[in-house]
């Protein structure tokens, strides 16, 4: 053994930074991510979470991968999505809602004003005086629920409601290994 060998610093490979968010989704895609079960403990050896419902980081920082669950139903969703796009090298639409708007987009055939009025006003048999929640703290709802690709460039889409844990695992494994993710027919589902 040559002298000094032991003193060379050993660099651990940099952890891959991943941010996740649920926009107009139900958290089901995040649940499916957690459904990788004990592999989660393996995943966190290689991955560091930035902004995510699992951490207390409130603003997204520079990241390798951004996972977006849910479509866009209000102005805040749009703003958060744009921040994710600006910060994430690779942005992934995870699940039916991010890809197509999903079930929340069922409201698109209804007029938003009518919908709100119906729910908070007319439907309750109210005349004047009742309020649709209107505080400036509440983000404005969009007229329609939009898929995220209508607003930002999306690098990959992972279909399913939700995508299976197997699909998420194999997708992330490919991305982290620097491979182009490829999902077989058994992992693609459109339920």
């Amino acid at each position: 053994m040559s002298p000094g060998t032991g003193s060379y610093p050993v660099y651990a490979p940099r952890k891959i930074k991943v941010a996740t968010v649920s926009l107009a989704g139900c958290f089901g895609c995040h649940m499916s991510l957690l459904d990788i079960d004990e592999r989660l403990l393996e995943l966190i050896q290689h991955v560091e979470f930035d902004r995510s419902p699992l951490t207390d980081i409130k603003d997204v920082g520079p990241c390798d991968i951004g996972l977006i669950e849910g479509g866009l139903c209000n102005s805040e969703n749009v703003q958060v999505l744009r921040e994710f796009r600006a910060q994430c090298k690779t942005l992934v639409a995870v699940g039916a809602c991010a890809i197509s708007g999903g079930l929340p987009a069922q409201r698109n055939h209804l007029d938003l004003a009518t919908l709100l009025t119906d729910v908070y006003h007319r439907r309750l048999g109210m005349s004047e005086g009742s309020v649709i929640p209107n505080d400036p703290e509440l983000p404005l709802p969009l007229r329609h629920v939009h898929p995220i690709h209508e607003v930002v460039h999306v690098d990959y889409s992972l279909p399913g409601c939700p995508p299976s844990a197997e699909a998420i695992w194999s997708f992330l494994s490919d991305l982290m290994a620097g491979r182009t993710p490829h999902l077989g027919p058994d992992q693609l589902r459109y339920d």
């Binding site: 649920s22 958290f27 929340p104 309750l124």
Partner: protein, 504 residues
């Protein structure tokens, strides 16, 4: 009506601090705090910021789609919505009662849901606060930090949740958004292979679930004075119980106790929920504020979920959890436990109960064979109520002769806790934030109080009631300009006598 710190007397010129988004909870919420020059807290609100309108677009859909549609309200507790809708639709198709096999398979699914959701909440979301401290390092305060510092605890949490999810998969077909329950029953038995695999893991799960209760209790005891007082306040409590007073999370009658533990409602049929519960809208949140109609909005609000259920029931019908319940109740020393942080302890008692019930059901041959579906005389209206992980969940539908839904009303668990969560954050704000320079760690205390309720804010964003409502129109200075109420009969009452100044 006034609640302390809900509305600042004069918001002008106050400094705004926001927690946006509230993290390590499900869904979208934010907290705003208004402070004056001396850092005195003047207003604190938990806002639910999303509106999705599920109840409206369910109208016009065929009734048989509803159990699979509405579960998309929430990915954490889809089974609760799946089953509450199925129970309501059982009444629509006249399947009363459903078969023994269907009931047991649904129960199995539901207790699997309780177990996985409770494990997720305690281990993945809340344990970092409890293990590291409320103002510990942000970078570490998450499940990854727990896995690094306490690998054994993290592993148990992950595997307890996995077991619950596997119970759901075996009964519903999928872990998230399954299809097993249908109007009139279920569409499949549990396979022998799945049953055997689950049975094999059960003893380990029972042991770990007991460890979880012990951990939650021990964390509470470690700093008992703080845990008992943090975000604490007295309130009524509401839940379903079995007809004989036992804890039952799948079916039962409504029971409520007042803050001293006295019964104020008991044996009430869930079908009559509209006569018991009334909801109110406040302009700063999409989530409504329910209360017991008989007591009114100021005295009638209540808490739901584990803290309410463990104390509302007379006993838990499984031995290990019952022993733990008795310890929990003894902690109150004859008075109900009102501590916000005691939710964690109560939640783990329920998780243990869920594992015990799963064990009993796995031993029952009815889950492997027997009739799955029944039908009967078609009806036009049905209410389905279930104790979801977070509390009482109410689904109400009317269906036309053409099989299309004509009305859908949902009161989700988290909505019941709306006032309680607001009270909890105001209590924390008063105790810790008032008059001091606010730090990240102090703000996390607000979130710790919210997290204890395990809010499911996605569920809450879809819940838009059609119930009697009182609305006050406020002027710039907070004075009531107009006050309108809709009575139970739908009549609109304008109460001009209520022109009183709302004092912040």
């Amino acid at each position: 009506m006034t609640f302390d710190l809900e509305t600042a007397a004069s918001p002008k010129g106050l400094r705004r601090v926001a927690i946006d988004p509230v993290s390590r909870v499900e869904g979208h919420g934010k907290v705003t705090i208004l402070l004056d020059d001396q850092h005195r807290v003047k207003q604190v609100r938990l806002h639910i910021v999303e509106f999705r309108g599920f109840e409206k677009f369910i109208e016009g859909r065929p009734y048989w789609e509803v159990p699979v549609m509405v579960q998309r309200l929430c990915g954490i507790c889809p089974v609760s919505h799946h089953l509450a809708a199925s129970k309501a639709m059982d009444l629509i198709v006249g399947a009363v009662p459903v078969t023994a096999s269907a009931t047991k398979i649904r129960r199995l699914m539901h207790y699997g849901q309780i177990m996985q959701s409770h494990a997720l909440h305690f281990f993945h979301l809340s344990s970092p606060d409890l293990l590291f401290g409320f103002d510990s390092d942000v970078a570490r305060r998450n499940i990854v930090g727990v896995a690094m510092a306490y690998p054994d605890i993290a592993k148990k949490g992950v595997l307890l949740r996995k077991f619950g999810q596997e119970v759901i998969r075996a009964t519903a077909g999928k872990r998230v958004h399954g299809t097993g329950s249908v109007p009139g029953g279920v569409n499949k038995h549990v396979s022998r292979a799945d049953r055997d695999a689950l049975r094999k893991d059960l003893p380990q799960m029972l042991e770990w679930a007991q460890d979880a209760v012990n951990l939650a209790r021990q964390l509470h005891m470690q700093d008992a004075a703080m845990h008992d007082s943090f975000g604490s306040f007295r309130s009524n409590m509401l839940s379903l119980v079995r007809a004989d007073g036992a804890m039952d999370l799948y079916d039962g009658v409504l029971r409520a106790r007042d803050a001293s533990g006295r019964l104020i409602l008991d044996g009430a049929s869930d079908q009559g929920y509209l006569d018991l519960i009334e909801e109110e809208v406040r302009p700063w949140s999409y989530m409504k504020f329910p209360h017991l109609r008989a007591l009114g909005p100021e005295k009638g609000w209540y808490r739901v979920g584990p803290l309410a259920r463990v104390q509302n029931c007379d006993f838990i019908p499984t031995p290990l959890a019952e022993a733990q319940r008795q310890e929990f109740v003894a902690w109150g020393g004859g008075e109900p436990v009102h501590a916000t942080l005691a939710y964690h302890w109560a939640r783990m008692v329920e998780a243990l109960h869920a594992v015990e019930v799963i064990g009993e059901l796995l031993d029952d041959p009815d889950i492997l064979s027997g009739g799955l579906m029944v039908t009967g005389t078609r009806r036009s209206e049905g209410v389905g109520v279930i104790e979801a992980p977070r509390g009482t969940l109410i689904h109400h539908y009317t269906v036309g002769a053409d099989d299309l839904v004509t009305m859908c009303n949902l009161i989700v668990s988290t909505t019941h806790n709306n006032q309680a969560m607001n009270e909890a954050v105001r209590s924390v704000a008063r105790e810790y934030l008032d008059g001091v320079e606010i730090t990240e760690g102090l703000l996390n205390r607000i979130e710790v109080a919210i997290r204890a309720y395990d809010p499911c804010l996605s569920c809450a964003t879809h819940a838009l009631g059609r119930m009697p409502l009182k609305v006050a129109l406020l002027g710039d200075g907070g004075e009531v300009i107009d006050h309108i109420a809709r009575s139970s009969t739908g009549e609109i009452v304008r109460d001009l006598a209520a022109r009183v100044r709302v004092d912040g």
